[in-house]
Symmetry: C2
Subunit: 522 residues, 2 copies
Amino acid sequence: MKLTGQHFIAGRRTASATETFQAINPANSETLDVPFAEADATEIDEALIAADEAYDALQTASSATIAGLLEAIADGLESVGEVLLERAHAETALPMGRLTGERGRTCNQTRIFADMARNELWRQPRIDEGDPARVPPKPDVRTMLFGVGPVVVFGASNFPLAISVAGTDTISALAARCPVVVKAHPAHPGTCEIIASVITAAVEESGLPAGTFSMVHGKTNRTGAELVQHDKVAAVAFTGSLQGGRALFDAVNQRKNPVPFYGEMGSLNPVFLLPGALELRSDEIASGLIQSVNLGVGQFCTNPGAVLGVEGVHLDAFLSAVKDAAEDVAPATMLHPGIHAAFEQGQQRIASVEGINRVGSSGQPPIADSHQATCNIYESDVSQIGKQEVSEEVFGPSSIVFKCQSTDQMIEYARSLDGHLTATIHGTDQDLKDNAALVRILQRKVGRIVFNGFPTGIEVCNAMHHGGPYPATTHSYFTSIGHHSIYRFTKPVCFQGFPDSCLPAQLKQVDVPASASGCPTP
Amino acid sequence: MKLTGQHFIAGRRTASATETFQAINPANSETLDVPFAEADATEIDEALIAADEAYDALQTASSATIAGLLEAIADGLESVGEVLLERAHAETALPMGRLTGERGRTCNQTRIFADMARNELWRQPRIDEGDPARVPPKPDVRTMLFGVGPVVVFGASNFPLAISVAGTDTISALAARCPVVVKAHPAHPGTCEIIASVITAAVEESGLPAGTFSMVHGKTNRTGAELVQHDKVAAVAFTGSLQGGRALFDAVNQRKNPVPFYGEMGSLNPVFLLPGALELRSDEIASGLIQSVNLGVGQFCTNPGAVLGVEGVHLDAFLSAVKDAAEDVAPATMLHPGIHAAFEQGQQRIASVEGINRVGSSGQPPIADSHQATCNIYESDVSQIGKQEVSEEVFGPSSIVFKCQSTDQMIEYARSLDGHLTATIHGTDQDLKDNAALVRILQRKVGRIVFNGFPTGIEVCNAMHHGGPYPATTHSYFTSIGHHSIYRFTKPVCFQGFPDSCLPAQLKQVDVPASASGCPTP
């Protein structure tokens, strides 16, 4: 597939701007093929007007059509072949094996949302039948969910397939019958173009309006700001850094008519090592931690950045095992030069704090000009934990082990936490029972609590919740991974006093008896 | 009951400030008894720290305790007797009959949430069982909803009982096990004090921590801003004007760690008169409209402020019937001098637009110094509809009838709408079928579509959705009335790999087989 560097605007490849940028192979610093156009205001306007106009046809399409669109996208991502993985590999340095697995996950979740589009259980119909005999008469009230309107999606650099152009945000929005305008990630624009061509072909094949999907390129903040401020936007989804997410969140909230903004911005993902676990399994936990810290070169939003344990021989044994495991980790190329530079700065920031010592590190040096990160594990007294230098997420293979005097000190720290995507507890069942208060504190602070496991690696399923209070996300009710991510792009509509013949199918008397009207009546 | 003018901070009556304000009887401009204290930063801090500390006990309390608290509040609102209604009448000029009905609704909805607190179906448990044999092993993932933490509530002036200190916001937050800090409405502070004393007694009786409920008085913007900026706040609920709601929304979003803000800010609630309905029932619709416009002296957030019909003899007949019906409406006292002044300004603003004419008005003049509003109905060509002067909500008994050339022009207007709480359609079943496109447009724009009825008067039920895109509310997914209002104050927590013995009851294997795990699996 020959890349063009153009946008896809309602099925049309176009690029009017003179401003361009190119992707860089982070493994060798080489500039990759074709210049990509920076979208201008006219192109953004065209994409969103087409999306707005496509909305109505998406509402009247059959569920089979929507499901078919999503299945065609999954099929297309498979049939486009190795060209996709090879370009993604060149743009991100992620290994081919990992990208093959990520494509599998991407197609799998796309087919999950195809099923959801077909069965439409996400509509969650609720019916309260009227009673004309009541004084005053009780109206007939029926409510179900609808797509909110055009959704703007900003994908992540660390999952160029599963959280990018055809990632959960796009796919769940389409399943909810929302048109989508994607801002391509400037670190993997070629990967984005290949995926956009797959989606554009699937839309064309479906018979739905071309405005159902658009994708624009852009590297500047202006492009993102113009997208989220456009008056046809009904919701925005973003996965990325706190700084980028907050800037867009602020831009959306400064609109005359603000819309829902769903930012997933990562977190520290603290790990609590309770005494029983350290006594029984310090080596196993150390090796699991190093594996988790280094998964995808540490470039996971669920990467465990802080570990807490109680001082003593078992924590010492754990630290010794951590040191050994870290030495075996080879330096590896990060996603792009910017992330690598931020990682190096973060390491310098941590190392500059008095009382924080490096206890383990990769046993070999990084290769020059290949943007490789070296795994670093630090230790520190827990008294350092509140410091600005250590409380911010460092995106990459790094973690700090904080030594506490007691589990009470761990609990005190838990109380002071901001929002995080996950927290992890290692312990025996008895440890967990003895520290029920810790679990209750974490329930307020995080979206997912992992017991005797590691937070990296998210199961895509109905019960998954990938969210958390700010700064993990901008709204703790919603998830950005799993079946329930669809609810971000829906709004209830209540029909009062409608004749049965004019109600949507799911709300009609004949199809949905009140006794089976969806969500449990609270 | 003797009023004190003090705050209730975690069960304690206190007032340290020297700054005070007094309520005014809008019917006669007399100042009502006792000065009320303006809360200072220390008192706000005390209330929120006590709320934060109460959170944990609310999580471990039995469902019977939470339900019992809510039932005691409902019982207390009844047993406190006429003193509550009399004070509310003096502070708001709402008739005793209306207030008696509103108390009934308030107690009724409190008992609905008591049932929800008892059955805890709002937890919406979701279970994905693990599969250790899968490659890679599938983790056990279980999720349910928890209360988010301390909730700050700003009640409305127009429902001193049902949307105030013991209104849906407070009651649904308590049902979700969230501590609540209420900002008393400065237009009915005595009513607020009586209700707060009922809630405080109910909390004491329940054995729950006193910090479960606090209420502070305040008339200045400073008090509200300090409340929503406090770092222990987990969510904010507001019902009131667009100006006030937007100011608080902005303050919340400018926090270092923003939290969910749920503002319900009213809307124009357009009414579409389709040709068949006008032909058959112009008199009946006119009389229904005038009744709806004047319900509660027009002080309903669902008050119909714009009416659209196609020019012709039937619309003329409708306007003539509107004129007659409006003449029979006696001027009536508004909630407080500020709302009355804003209404008068709004009337002048509308009347100043060239081409807008008054077609109907109360047949008698308002009584001096009693802040009475006169019902005014205007007519205009639809070309005026986009003008700033007429597109803003006028809170009070006023509405504008816009004459269209065709139903296409109505649909064009519908497309241009911002968010509204409701839209209403009058028509025959055939009209509704012929205008399915209008319904689909309105689905994006409003939270509730009423057919052959009027938007005022909201049924408190499971299927009710009282919300809509901005500026109707600040988040179109959520409702502020009805059972589902509880979800504003919840967040999911996902438990991964937990032993059954340490899971919350609703997520245990023995209690909830996967086949009955709550919400339908999408």
